[in-house]
């Protein structure tokens, strides 16, 4: 996998969430695409060994940003001031833009790709509403940051169990008025969106199965799909990470 050393322009930290901006003069990422990331210092060592996938959170005149939650070693190193980044070109199949009005349904850190999506929708004059669920478990600083960075979004700050997706979908009210749904959130939310969309409004879901090669070689990022009536595993890295809800064989 070809990784490029990039210049980090800015790091923001809000609680256990963080944002990183780097200069990128290569192919611009499309909404829903991801990049593979390694830390250069650790690049010669083997810990961590694999590169890690992150959605392109935003892209604006040659600056890519990634929004992430600090979970383990790579995300910790990413959030460190002095870490040097190696990133891949934008990878995978993102969201397909279609007629509006559409609803963006996101939750937790997974709202990340919806920022770039909103930018593209606006640019293409496609009407949309954004509904973002910020779990109670997420730090206030993150909720505040989201509110600021998704100004037109309707924020749902779940109080109790962050994974209760109904909370979100109900609060949104009648989704049938939309021509399409673009979702990226915790698994239960994606579940709910898929269940709702079956037979009603077509939805596109951004998945995040663990990856190794990110180029279709290892078959590690398996996503169960229906293909001509047969249930088989697609690869999130080349066939996704965004999939139409209706083809998912969950």
């Amino acid at each position: 996998m070809k990784l490029h050393a990039v210049e980090v322009l800015e790091r923001e930290r809000f609680g256990d969430h963080a944002l990183i901006r780097y200069r990128w003069t290569g192919t611009p990422p499309a909404p829903g695409q991801f990049v593979m990331v390694r830390i250069a210092g650790a690049a010669q060592a083997f810990a961590p060994f694999l590169a890690r996938p992150f959605f392109a959170h935003d892209y604006d005149n040659e600056v890519v940003s990634l929004l992430f939650e600090i979970r383990g070693r790579v995300t910790f190193l990413l959030s460190e001031e002095d870490s040097v980044l190696l990133v891949s070109d934008p990878l995978g199949r993102g969201y397909t833009l279609d007629n509006g009005p559409v609803a963006l349904v996101g939750g937790g850190v997974w709202v990340s790709p919806l920022k770039l999506l909103a930018r593209h929708l606006s640019r293409s004059g496609i009407a949309f509403d954004a509904y973002l669920e910020i779990p109670a478990t997420a730090p206030g600083a993150y909720a505040a940051w989201i509110a600021e960075n998704y100004p037109d979004a309707i924020l749902v700050r779940t109080q109790a169990d962050s994974d209760a997706p109904q909370a979100t979908l109900e609060s949104i009210g009648d989704l049938t008025r939309y021509a399409g749904l673009y979702a990226s959130g915790p698994t239960p939310m994606l579940d709910a969106v898929k269940r709702f969309s079956d037979g009603t409004v077509p939805a596109q879901l951004a998945l995040r199965e663990r990856m190794a090669c990110a180029n279709g070689s290892c078959y590690g990022c398996a996503v169960p799909l229906w293909r001509d009536g047969v249930r088989e595993y697609a690869r999130a890295c080349v066939d996704g990470p965004v999939f139409p809800a209706k083809v998912l064989a969950w």
């Binding site: 996998m1 070809k2 390694r38 690049a43 010669q44 060592a45 083997f46 810990a47 961590p48 060994f49 694999l50 590169a51 199965e209 663990r210 990856m211 190794a212 090669c213 990110a214 180029n215 279709g216 070689s217 290892c218 078959y219 590690g220 990022c221 398996a222 996503v223 169960p224 249930r231 088989e232 595993y233 080349v238």
Partner: protein, 305 residues
């Protein structure tokens, strides 16, 4: 560990990277390890790989295992893909996907000795295939699920059958580390033209916080390199056929280490997920230049202790 990767392709050009493997001339000793390079991942292959080696094919399509299929561990990864593949028919129909101007090696696996031989017979008629690699790290349903490389007897049986069905072209036999010397000798006796070693090593990943098995699969990557080097070393001294070394290669120095240990060619798997094979080959070329050696001389260039 990993050294000067930042070398230009030009510099690499001057040295002699060519080798001959079972009569097949290869432009470089580097070959993708089975299951670690698909057509979507090709990128540039010319001038890097000496041959193309797609993921193991089975007689019928296989859906593979449910996720999670991969986990990271210290200096490596564990995978449990379950040989997902389209099956021999679809593979042969789309075989031109792998026509990138390099000799094409085909890795096969099956449930029974008969099926193994049957696949060899079909592939024997396919002139676009230069050689077959038998992946014997799969369960033999006729022997209670014991792997085909469970022991010399099992190896001899399946290799003999395949040799009979595939007499015209080179037959490689891929083995796991367990019992590798005895199994390699059995493969040679049964007519194998080369042995490929090693396959991933059975491993387990536990998630202590969830109190669950995260993954039960095969370990690969730098963690197994010293084990794979040992296998290449011992086997190349126990058999007369060429050894194709594989396990934990991430750099050009690693390629050199395997060839010094006795490997005639080297495969790269997990390492290619993280680093560029082109850079590995450039580092390897630089190593040859510094030491005034040709790739094909390396496996006899070691000063014995």
């Amino acid at each position: 560990m990993v050294t000067h990767r930042a070398m230009s392709a030009g510099e690499g050009a001057s040295v002699d990277l060519t080798i001959e493997l079972c009569g097949i001339p290869l432009a470089s000793p580097l070959i993708p390890a089975a299951g670690t390079l698909s057509k979507e991942g090709f990128g540039e292959t010319k001038g890097i790989y000496g041959a193309m080696l797609p993921k193991t094919v089975t007689p019928r399509p296989r859906v593979g295992n449910p996720p999670p299929r991969i986990a990271e561990v210290s200096s490596g990864m564990v995978n449990s893909i379950g040989l997902q593949n389209p099956g021999l028919d679809r593979f042969l129909n789309n075989i031109d996907d792998y026509g990138v101007g390099l000799p094409l090696f085909v890795s096969i696996a099956a449930d029974t000795v008969g099926e193994f031989a049957g696949m060899c017979e079909r592939i024997a008629g396919e002139e676009r295939v230069a050689a077959v690699e038998l992946n014997l790290s799969c369960p033999n349903v006729e022997h209670g699920g014991l792997q085909f490389c469970a022991g010399p007897g099992a190896v001899r049986e399946v290799v003999t059958a395949c040799r009979g069905a595939f007499s015209e072209k080179p037959l490689f036999v891929k083995l796991t580390n367990e019992g590798v010397v005895g199994n390699a000798m059995a493969a040679e006796e049964a007519g194998a033209d080369a042995v490929t070693l090693i396959n991933t090593i059975p491993a387990l990943v536990v998630n202590a916080h969830e109190r669950q098995v995260l993954l039960r699969g095969g370990l690969s990557g730098p963690a197994i390199k010293p084990i794979a080097l040992r296998a290449a070393y011992e086997v190349s001294r126990a058999v007369g056929v060429p050894v194709i070394g594989v396990g934990g290669v991430t750099s050009g120095i690693d390629i050199a280490e395997f060839m010094l240990a006795g490997a005639a060619a080297v495969q790269v798997g997990a390492g290619s997920f993280v680093w560029e094979p082109r850079e590995m080959l450039e580092e390897f070329a630089a190593y040859l230049r510094e030491n005034g050696l040709r790739a094909r001389d390396l496996n006899i260039a070691m000063t014995e202790l």
